[in-house]
């Protein structure tokens, strides 16, 4: 039998626990509720990451080989060429995607008849699956059967068919053009959303001060869009560095590696040459680069937000 003071102490403990429990739940219910998603994330992202890192320092039989795979892949002449091509492809693609997308968004922010239809139609390139778009463009740009050459020859613009995808000088611009066509609607969509959040009063105030259209864009619109444009640029850059569909479908990196980009090199090393260690080494380096890029962006984003 429990004595009265003991019963009193137990009641006090229970009461204290009773008070603490809601505090504990209140403090930790967030992590508790996100734990299933967190576990799924670890399984789906953490495991492949760790496994790739492990592959990058092991040979085919799973023996630890240090940085041998990194040395092998960096010694390959094709690696430097692929990095150069990647920078050119991603750099020019993002530049034109942002430029064209912003221009399209500014245009679509104006009032004109049929605006709803044009806004919807603009999204078509972005909605079409990349593999379908790339295959279609590959046929359109085919030297012999392509409609691009057919139209240009028939119109007398060129005397002979041009090998858009087989000429060393035209292959990269052609691929960049397709990539820009595919992704600029995404930029337009994002920028348009950003534009609609800019208060009309800012423009009115600028007009009262005598600002012309260019000055409105330069001093009112673009500063308000800074964060949207920064986010979109980062996303496009990451997608650009990771995307292989357009180039792999249209040229497979050819001719003579003129359009080979790093993600395609990784794909070929792994799934065509079965050199998983070297593919993993290149993947780790690309991941590190993109991680740095993202960190730099986050710092910029924070600084801009604090402003």
């Amino acid at each position: 039998m429990i004595s009265t003071p003991a019963r009193g102490a137990a009641a006090l403990r229970a009461s204290a626990q009773g008070r603490r429990r809601p505090d504990f739940v209140a403090r930790h219910h967030g992590p508790f509720f996100i734990s299933p998603a967190l576990l799924a994330l670890i399984a789906l992202i953490g495991y492949p990451l760790i496994y790739t890192a492990w592959l990058s320092v092991t040979d085919d039989r799973g023996n630890y080989v240090g940085f041998d795979n990194f040395n092998e892949i960096l010694d390959d002449r094709v690696t430097a060429l692929a990095i150069r091509n990647t920078i050119v492809y991603v750099g020019w693609s993002v530049f034109f995607q942002v430029l064209l997308g912003t221009a399209a968004a500014i245009l679509l922010n104006q009032r004109f008849p049929g605006r709803g239809f044009v806004r919807s139609a603009l999204l078509v390139p972005w909605i079409v699956p990349a593999i379908v778009a790339a295959t279609t463009w590959a046929w359109m740009m085919h030297t012999e059967f392509g409609i691009v050459n057919y139209i240009l020859v028939e119109a007398g613009a060129i005397a002979e068919p041009i090998g858009w995808l087989t000429n060393r000088d035209t292959v990269m611009p052609a691929l960049i053009a397709v990539n820009v066509w595919k992704m600029f609607p995404f930029v337009a969509l994002m920028v348009l959303a950003g534009l609609q959040a800019v208060p009309e009063t800012l423009y009115e105030a600028a007009r009262v001060d005598g600002a012309n259209l260019w000055q409105e864009i330069r001093f009112v619109m673009l500063p308000q869009l800074r964060l949207v444009l920064a986010s979109v640029t980062l996303i496009l850059t990451i997608w650009g560095f990771n995307g292989i569909t357009i180039i792999y479908t249209m040229t497979r990196g050819g001719p003579a590696n003129r359009s080979l980009i790093t993600p395609i090199q990784i794909f070929k090393q792994a799934f065509e040459f079965l050199r998983f260690g070297e593919a993993a080494a290149l993947s780790v380096m690309l991941f590190a680069f993109l991680a740095l890029l993202t960190l730099a962006y986050l710092r910029l984003f924070r600084a801009a937000s604090e402003d």
């Binding site: 094709v78 002979e160 087989t166 001719p255 003579a256 590696n257 070929k268 079965l274 050199r275």
Partner: protein, 418 residues
């Protein structure tokens, strides 16, 4: 009421386990077979016959397409739950075997009574790795010269006397490069300079071999593609495009399939390919009078060809390997192999079947004794890519044949030395 409730609850509790158990039972009886689309109808017929003979087994056919198949098979082999039987191109057999994901089939051949001495030696060699049998060849073929007899006549050439030497081949290609009656530009030769990477090697390596060169030395230790005989042959092949203008401007986009389309369209008048193209050409343009000849050679030399073909393989992690062995034993019978193959069968006795007596197949059959398998190297796919990249540099006119092959040789040697 309570009893009913308990039964429902009990059934609900057991149901997930029953679902888990059900496939396990079915898998012991089921054989999943990945077969290419070109043989689908014949595969279905063979499955019907096999299931009639083996009532306890059910074959599930999954049809594959050539594009991306190499990666798909590799992914399946490493997935832990691959199909029981896969048809693969013979050139992939050794690289796959080197990954350790294929089951050795020496014992299966013995158990199933597959007479290996009835197989042509070259196809059988494509299935051997480290002295073990890692696949069963069932289809083999080699290229010959396919030409348009009508175009020959238009160009003033005798369609019954196709070129036999390299010199005559270039002359014919130059004469066949012309404006046709309807004003279209036609070309004398289809050069494979793009698309599927492996297609170029299939067309160029025979020329290197017949000129006395090679890509790799016979002991597989030395890259020799920059030696004069090889460089001369590569230069010869590229010259149809680079010097003679006898190949279409799309050459750097053209693989085997594209060349067939150009031949069907009347844009190219000659190209190298296998007998599998004959049926397709007839279907797509019945007006073309097809000629087939053995590949032309340098003076006094023998023709050569790369042996192409398909093998059956069984993944190491296949669940129903016993069923797969039975199916392989059935498919490897001469009459079944002879029916299933799209080109020639890998067994000598199957070659006697009536379907292989069509006269148009004669030059292809005559090329078979001159066909060699590609070197049995795990890095062969990478070597093919290096050769392709450097040959494209010649076609782009950004490197001389000697410089391009020197670069290819260095990179290939690095691979061999690893």
């Amino acid at each position: 009421m309570n009893k009913t409730r308990r039964m429902i609850l009990g059934a609900a509790a057991v149901a997930p386990f029953a679902r888990l158990a059900a496939p396990a039972v079915a898998q012991t009886q089921e054989i999943v077979w990945w077969a290419p689309n070109w043989g689908q109808a014949r595969a279905e017929e063979l499955i019907r016959r096999f299931q009639a003979e083996n009532t306890g087994l059910r074959v599930k056919l999954e049809v594959t397409v050539s594009d991306g198949l190499q990666n798909r098979v590799l992914t399946a082999l490493r997935s832990g739950s691959p199909p029981e039987l896969i048809d693969i191109q013979s050139g992939w057999n050794v690289p796959y075997a080197a990954t350790g994901e294929l089951m050795p089939l020496d014992e299966v051949a013995t158990q199933q009574g597959i007479a290996l001495n009835d197989f042509l030696p070259a196809p059988l060699a494509t299935a051997r790795h480290d002295g073990r049998l890692m696949g069963i060849p069932y289809r083999c073929e080699s290229h010959a010269l396919i030409y348009n007899k009508g175009a020959y006549r238009e160009a003033g050439l005798n369609p019954d006397q196709p070129p036999q030497t390299w010199e005559a081949w270039v002359d014919a290609a130059k004469r066949l490069t012309r404006r046709t009656g309807d004003g279209r530009q036609a070309f004398g030769m289809g050069v494979c300079g793009g698309g599927e990477v492996g297609n170029l090697m299939f067309r160029c390596m025979p020329l290197i071999w017949m000129n006395g060169g090679s890509i790799i030395s016979d002991d597989l230790r030395r890259a020799v593609v920059n030696e004069p005989a090889a460089v001369e042959a590569v230069d010869y092949y590229c010259s149809f495009f680079t010097r003679h203008g006898a190949a279409p401007p799309s050459t750097l986009q053209n693989d085997g399939l594209a060349l067939r389309r150009l031949f069907v369209a009347g844009t190219v008048a000659q190209y190298q390919s296998g007998q599998f193209d004959i049926g397709a050409i007839r279907n797509e343009n019945a007006n073309i009078e097809i000629g087939v000849a053995k590949l032309p050679t340098p003076p006094g030399k023998e023709p050569r060809a790369v042996l192409g073909g398909w093998n059956f393989v069984v993944p190491r992690q296949a669940r129903n390997r016993e069923g797969a062995a039975k199916l392989i034993g059935f498919l490897a019978k001469p009459e079944n192999m002879g029916m299933y193959t799209d080109t020639f069968p890998a067994r000598v006795s199957a070659m006697e079947l009536p379907r292989f007596r069509d006269p148009i197949l004669t030059p292809f059959r005559e090329m078979l004794p001159f066909a060699r398998a590609t070197p049995p190297l795990a890095s062969w796919v990478q070597i093919v890519q290096l050769f392709f990249d450097n040959t494209q540099r010649i076609l782009l006119r950004e490197a001389t044949p000697q410089d391009a092959m020197n670069d290819a040789n260095r990179a290939i040697q690095r691979l061999i030395d690893r």
